[in-house]
């Protein structure tokens, strides 16, 4: 048997503030984005995945990049940041957060990220950003270079980030932090508790209700242990994080999106605000506006395969005549779906849900269908 092995890292791996906890929980550690991260715990990916959908899972996502972007005097921070992203940042209310993308001059995705406007009026000149681990150096350099004369980017590298996801997450978290009960989906709040300055947001990467908790490094292990003590909560590794987000139809940077894909091609058009579509004023606006008007030539779609064999990243997607019409960008066996799930880009002519295609796996054409995503029902918290 030849298992795929990760390449030897060239630099020493970084550790998150929860590294010791992962080891004590018996995690299998792997290199990821320069960090030594838990890919799974003794429970295993399949059970970790199912447990998150049934109860709650705690994820260490401290490798992700957190930063505060602060406007210089006389500058509106939202207008300033809108020059780099197509999202509607100006209309973000205090405490509201939004998913958006940093774009290249041709509309390619430098990274996808979460942008939060702080609640407190004295922080009205700031935005809180959470970006991908593997892209944080690139993102931060890009933002500083583009906006340096109008805003200052301060990486929050002494903060850990925990994600508590699943139907039991709200009950578990509100037992410790009652204020989180009333937090709406895609809302964030700064909460000081037992001396720790937390930023709690109701969002996630699993398709379930849940929270992300930004916390000073020195408090991270204590809080992780506190949350893990709840019967409903299990520690969940990056393996299940990937299968959960794939079933939820969410993109993984470097796989489903990168600098060669635009948000329109990536089926992220919903993240481009109405005003922004009309006015432009973001990198690659002309290209993106044209794609929005005429339709893109290729589109990211969900793919359900017949049988049990998963199609993996890189597999060719072909039409009935065997012509290549696209490529798989992520694929695995979806534990909750109970079958293989994949996403990839196809020529737009083939992108309609219900369309029958085939995916080449080890030389065999496996029947597949274009399906609407998510693959599993979304269970986000509904704001009243």
């Amino acid at each position: 048997m030849a298992a795929s092995r990760a390449p030897e890292p060239t630099e020493p791996l970084r550790q998150t503030p929860l590294h010791g906890l992962h080891l004590s929980l018996g995690a299998k550690m792997v290199p990821f984005a320069g960090y030594d991260m838990p890919v799974q715990y003794p429970l295993g990916i399949l059970k970790e995945h199912l447990h998150t959908r049934a109860a709650a899972g705690l994820f260490d996502v401290s490798h992700m990049g957190q930063a505060v972007l602060r406007a210089k005097p006389g500058i509106d921070i939202a207008e300033c940041f809108e020059q780099l992203v197509p999202g509607n940042i100006r209309d973000l209310k205090p405490g509201q957060m939004r998913y958006t993308t940093l774009l290249t001059g041709t509309g390619g995705i430098i990274d996808d990220l979460m942008v939060t406007r702080p609640v407190a009026p004295e922080h009205a000149d700031k935005l809180f950003l959470v970006v991908n681990a593997a892209r944080k150096a690139v993102d931060f350099a890009h933002i500083s270079a583009a906006l340096g004369d109008r805003a200052e980017l301060k990486p929050l590298d002494t903060r850990a980030l925990l994600a508590l996801q699943g139907p039991a997450a709200a009950e578990v978290l509100s037992a410790h932090i009652p204020q989180t009960e009333s937090l709406g989906f895609m809302q964030a709040q700064r909460i000081e508790i037992d001396g720790a300055d937390l930023i709690v947001s109701r969002c996630g990467y699993t398709g379930e209700d849940g929270f992300e908790i930004s916390i000073p490094a020195e408090y991270a292990a204590t809080w992780a242990e506190k949350l893990l003590a709840a019967h409903a909560v299990e520690a969940i590794g990056l393996g299940a994080r990937d299968s959960l987000r794939l079933e939820a139809g969410l993109c993984l940077y470097g796989h489903d999106i990168d600098e060669t894909t635009t948000p329109v091609e990536a089926a992220l058009g919903w993240s481009i605000g109405k005003r922004r579509r009309a006015e432009g004023g973001f990198p690659g606006a002309a290209i993106i506006q044209k794609q929005l008007a005429d339709g893109p030539s290729r589109l990211r779609v969900g793919l359900a395969l017949e049988g049990r064999a998963p199609a993996r990243e890189g597999a060719a997607i072909v039409d009935a005549a065997g012509q290549k019409i696209g490529q798989v960008t992520s694929g695995t066996f979806g534990p909750s779906v109970g079958g293989p799930v994949a996403m990839g880009y196809v020529d737009s002519a083939f992108a309609k849900p219900g369309r029958t295609l085939a995916i080449l796996v080890r030389g065999k054409a496996l029947a597949a269908k274009v399906v609407a995503m998510p693959f599993t029902e979304k269970h986000f918290h509904r704001n009243d």
Binding site: M1, A2, A3, S4, V39, Q40, G44, I45, L46, K47, H49, G239, A240, D242, S243, R308, A309, P310, R312, T332, F333, P335, P340, R362
Partner: protein, 125 residues
């Protein structure tokens, strides 16, 4: 007691007459994690020692299985198609992959016996 031999790639082969039963070791299934799919070879297929002959997929990745010796596939464990998790539960027993007629029994001497394999995996950890 039938003769069981191991490859460095973590396949096992148990010989009964000239027919060998092949699977992956308990160590291998532990490394792979939850197995969700096994692609079995076709009956009658002839393979040389070291040829790719089957594929095992976990949630995370696909891994190739190599023929431990030269021979012809005579039977496959069809139960794995519906229940691939059997490989996790019973890797060296009910989770066997296929049987093969061994054409060159001399090749078995190139493989490890149980004790040698135990020391081999002890050094991998």
């Amino acid at each position: 007691m039938s003769d069981i031999r191991f490859t460095e790639e973590h396949e096992w082969i148990r010989l009964d007459g000239d027919v060998g039963t092949v699977g992956i070791t308990d160590y291998a299934q532990e490394q792979l994690g939850d197995i969700v799919f096994v692609e079995l070879p076709e009956q009658g297929k002839t393979v040389k020692q070291g040829d790719e002959i089957a594929v095992v997929e976990s949630v995370k990745a696909a891994s190739e299985i190599y023929a431990p010796v030269t021979g012809e596939v005579t039977d496959t464990n069809g139960a794995l198609e519906e229940a691939p998790e059997t490989v996790n539960a019973e890797a060296e027993d009910g989770g066997w992959f296929f049987r093969m007629r061994v054409t060159d029994p001399g090749e078995l001497s190139t493989l490890m016996d149980s004790d040698a394999y135990k020391s081999y995996i002890a050094e991998l950890d």
